[in-house]
């Protein structure tokens, strides 16, 4: 497998499934895939709360999405980019005050009780809206959920709520848990948060802390003939080299989320029987961003920000830091979100001379030692690539006479320094684009966010125009109009540079050839794996 091709992904999402399925045999679904077998997968974290209705994060979904299902899942081929799960259809009203979900009938919870609209209503009102990290935002205006019958749930909102947002958020925010297990208990400490009960293709069987999670086949799964596998085991391998070694030794069959580091891919791709797959993360695009503290006088000058943008060689970043498994960014919305992406924005070519000229123009001339001014640079420690980009950025800034001092800290310390204490001038961050700009993208530039909110605008930037567009889009029900607002949003962000978008990337899956139906949807690693099979 060669380099991630973003244009190919875009094709997919545009619906060119027919063309793609011939071009890329991997996606030809092995409908007659064999049944049975135990799939062993590398896991690197053990979330303390495994309930995806409360914690909507990739670490939780990786394991929990096989057990607890959302109303709909992301899809390459289907309409709206969604394929039905517990909901079979969804329809927003014209005034944006309600969304009607038709639910799948005949579905049973793992404990044998029937799944009904009451479960959806309970999950939405008692968990997603008040407790879930992302649901608190998406369902902020949710007032009631009507359940006229067991297979219909009507979400009613106090303010017009764009159906486009609800639709895009569904795979992430709508994990349904059983009302009869949670009702009348303290939801945050319910034992079912670690010993999950869902409707998914796999049942939660066992967790041995520090060793593994074991999921077993749900014999009564609603989709005929699925799941294919008898068991899925998530084996905890904390060391960076562990997943690669275990794959080579055939102790595990699959490692997702780049558990095998990029630098090892070239070597491991030459091992017979191992394949490297860069698809299957299109709806989980991570963005490499330079966060800017606009309280610093120099950085509040647009010319200085433009100079920094011109000083970064995006091609070098993609080729050298990401070894080609990434794409250069143009703005705050990634190319992987073709519904919103707008290429027609101001761009900043790599041009050191121009950057130097801009800084001279801004009045920051080089001192005797060739330095204009010093900055405090904090690269986020969460990925190798963010740390490496920090090192690169220091050099790139040195070339334009800005002396950046690196401050490396561990995760918790970095988090506090940037998002609570504002103790930075520049920071390197890896925010995620979650299908809709309103979920976790606009918050990166919106003003008025209290200190202490991770992955938000803590750089003191404020633009009335941008805030206005964000507020307007939040209540624009008409999908084309809302999309247009987000195109404007991208143009303003790219022109005014509240932050600098450098690159965007998805993760890499490394699997044995025996694993079938891998990466066949844009959130594959965090989807239910009902059709995933093992070739014996």
């Amino acid at each position: 497998m060669s380099i991630a091709s973003l244009s190919r992904r875009t094709l997919f999402q545009a619906g060119a499934a027919l063309l793609a399925s011939t071009a890329l045999p991997r996606f030809a679904r092995a409908q007659n895939a064999p049944s049975g077998g135990r799939l062993i997968v590398a896991a690197d974290s053990e979330p303390k709360n495994l309930n995806p209705a409360i914690v909507a994060s990739n670490g939780v979904f990786f394991i929990a999405s096989k057990v607890v299902e959302p109303l709909a899942e992301a899809s390459f081929e289907s309409k709206d980019g969604l394929s039905p799960r517990l909901a079979t259809s969804w329809e927003g009203s014209a005034d944006g005050r309600s969304v009607t979900f038709k639910l799948r009938e005949g579905v049973k919870w793992h404990d044998g009780k029937p799944f009904t609209s009451a479960d959806v209503a309970f999950s939405a009102l008692n968990i997603w809206k008040p407790l879930q990290n992302l649901g608190r935002l998406v369902f902020a205006n949710l007032e009631t959920v009507d359940t006229p019958d067991e297979a219909t749930a009507i979400f009613r909102f106090s303010k017009p709520t764009p159906v486009q947002l609800i639709r895009n958020a569904l795979p992430v925010v709508s994990s349904v848990v059983p009302k009869h297990v949670y009702e009348g208990t303290d939801i945050a400490t319910n034992p079912a948060n670690t010993k999950l009960i869902g409707t998914g293709p796999f049942k939660f069987a066992e967790y041995k802390p520090g060793e593994y999670y074991r999921l077993t086949k749900n014999e009564n799964y609603w989709s005929e003939g699925e799941p294919k596998l008898d068991e899925v085991i998530f084996r905890v391998l904390p060391d960076r080299a562990g997943a690669g070694a275990a794959l080579e030794a055939e102790e595990i069959q699959l490692a997702a989320f780049s558990a095998v580091p990029l630098t090892d891919l070239d070597r491991i791709s030459k091992v017979p029987g191992i394949k490297i797959i860069s698809e299957g993360y299109e709806a989980l695009t991570y963005q490499l961003v330079v966060e800017i503290n606009h309280r610093r006088k120099e950085l509040s000058d647009i010319k200085v920000r433009q100079a920094i943008a011109h000083a970064i060689n995006r091609k070098f970043v993609v080729d050298t830091i990401f070894l080609g498994y990434a794409a250069a960014s143009t703005g705050p919305v990634p190319k992987n979100a073709p519904e919103f992406y707008d290429a027609d924005v101001p761009t900043y070519d790599f041009d050191v001379a121009k950057a130097n000229a801009l800084l001279d123009e801004a009045g920051y001339s080089k001192g005797a030692n060739g330095t204009r001014f010093s900055l405090k640079l904090r690269p986020a420690p969460y990925f190798n690539e963010t740390r490496q980009f920090g090192d690169y950025l220091r050099q790139a800034l040195a070339a334009i006479g800005i002396d950046a001092q690196l401050f490396n800290a561990d995760s918790a310390a970095h988090q506090k320094a940037v998002y609570t204490d504002h103790d930075f001038d520049l920071a390197v961050a890896p925010p995620v684009f979650r299908g809709d700009p309103a979920i976790s993208t606009t918050i990166l530039v919106q003003s008025g966010i209290p200190a202490g909110v991770p992955f938000s605008n803590q750089g003191g930037y404020g633009s009335k125009e941008l805030d206005g567009i964000i507020a307007k889009a939040a209540e624009t029900v008409d999908t084309p109009a809302r999309t247009e607002l987000y195109k404007q949003f991208q143009r303003i962000v790219a022109a005014d540079l509240p932050l600098i978008n450098v690159a965007e990337w998805g993760f890499i899956t490394v699997a044995r050839d025996t694993v079938l139906n891998v990466s066949n949807n844009p959130r594959w690693a965090v989807s239910n794996w009902a059709d995933t099979a093992l070739h014996s």
């Binding site: 914690v55 562990g242 030794a249 995760s411 310390a413 976790s440 992955f455």
Partner: protein, 329 residues
């Protein structure tokens, strides 16, 4: 016997201030690290709003002053309550009980093997100082001692687990295998071969060098000269006179190394994915989980104090002068 009891009582009393200092220092160290348990948790779930952060800080008691929290922790510790881990959402005691046996097994085997092999090879090397055998062993031990444990662990794993596939790459036992009884014991032993070897090789080198140095020194002593002039056989001199005297510093080393090995197991446990104590400590630090980290450190401190007590008792048995002049309390 009386001597031993006195020793134990004295140690138990003196360990209380030691534990207290350990608790306070750990707490202050973790406190001085930027970021708290809520920062770490919000990061792990990919963000959250200010209300959530505040509610969590309240729930974890992080909104209270540093002294209030330290007092709360110390007083519950005095009641032998290790508290609640915020990063794992479980009682600290349960977590420690779950992980400790794995680490003890790993460390215990490595200690016994490295001490046994190290002292034996040390005797071989020290029996004839400056001989070819001595030089060879000294060189090898120097090289082994210079190797970082993570590197040795990785290399052993690549050779024996990935390339040759003789041994498993990682884990404490075959996952979800339902093995019981002897089959399970064998399985665990099989999984421990590589991690124990990695730890053993490095610590063995240390014991070898100390033993050899002790022997070299003992050879110059008058009693050795006397033993030789008595016409004792060389083997007898080496074992009864030289080695026995060289063993004393080695036993002291054993006590010191038991603490160092707890630290060394962090790396080995991560590389070999063994759910042990060291890895738990690492997770406690990155999660800014003060109760868990302090629980781990207190238990480690008790372990090290216990091991040193045992060492002192052995010492007293080896050298009758020790403990004879103890002040009577």
């Amino acid at each position: 016997m009386n001597r031993v009891l006195r020793l134990i009582r004295r140690r138990a009393i003196s360990s209380i201030p030691v534990l207290l200092i350990v608790v306070v220092l750990t707490f202050l160290l973790l406190e001085s690290a930027s970021g708290d348990a809520v920062d770490a948790y919000l990061l792990s779930i990919g963000g959250g709003d200010a209300t959530v952060a505040q509610a969590l800080r309240q729930a974890y008691g992080l909104d209270q002053s540093m002294f209030a929290r330290l007092w709360l922790y110390a007083s519950s510790l005095a009641r032998l309550d290790l508290g609640w881990s915020v990063a794992f959402g479980r009682p600290v005691f349960d977590l420690i009980l779950e992980r400790l046996p794995n680490t003890l097994l790993l460390m215990g085997s490595a200690t016994v093997l490295s001490f046994g092999l190290g002292s034996t090879l040390g005797i071989v090397a020290g029996a004839k100082p400056e001989s070819l055998g001595d030089r060879a062993l000294s060189t090898v031990s120097l090289v082994l001692y210079a190797i970082p444990s993570f590197w040795l662990g990785l290399v052993l794993s690549i050779i024996f687990a990935v390339q040759l596939r003789w041994l498993p790459t990682s884990g404490i036992e075959t996952i979800a295998s339902d093995k019981t009884g002897l089959a399970r014991v064998t399985d665990i032993a099989w999984h421990l071969v590589l991690p124990v070897s990695a730890l053993t090789l490095i610590y063995m080198a240390l014991f070898l060098r100390v033993m050899r140095a002790g022997m070299a020194e003992a050879w110059t002593m008058d009693f050795v000269l006397f033993a030789r002039s008595k016409g004792l056989s060389r083997t007898r001199i080496v074992l009864r006179h030289v080695a026995r005297n060289a063993l004393l510093p080695l036993v002291t080393m054993l006590g010191l190394q038991s603490a160092a090995m707890l630290g060394g197991s962090v790396v080995i446990e991560s590389i070999f994915a063994i759910p042990g104590f060291g890895r738990l400590a690492q997770e406690a630090v990155s999660g800014r989980d003060a109760p868990l980290l302090m629980g781990i450190i207190v238990v480690s401190a008790v372990l090290v104090i216990g091991v040193n007590l045992v060492i002192d008792i052995i010492y007293a048995a080896l050298d009758p002068r020790i403990g004879a002049s103890e002040p009577r309390a």
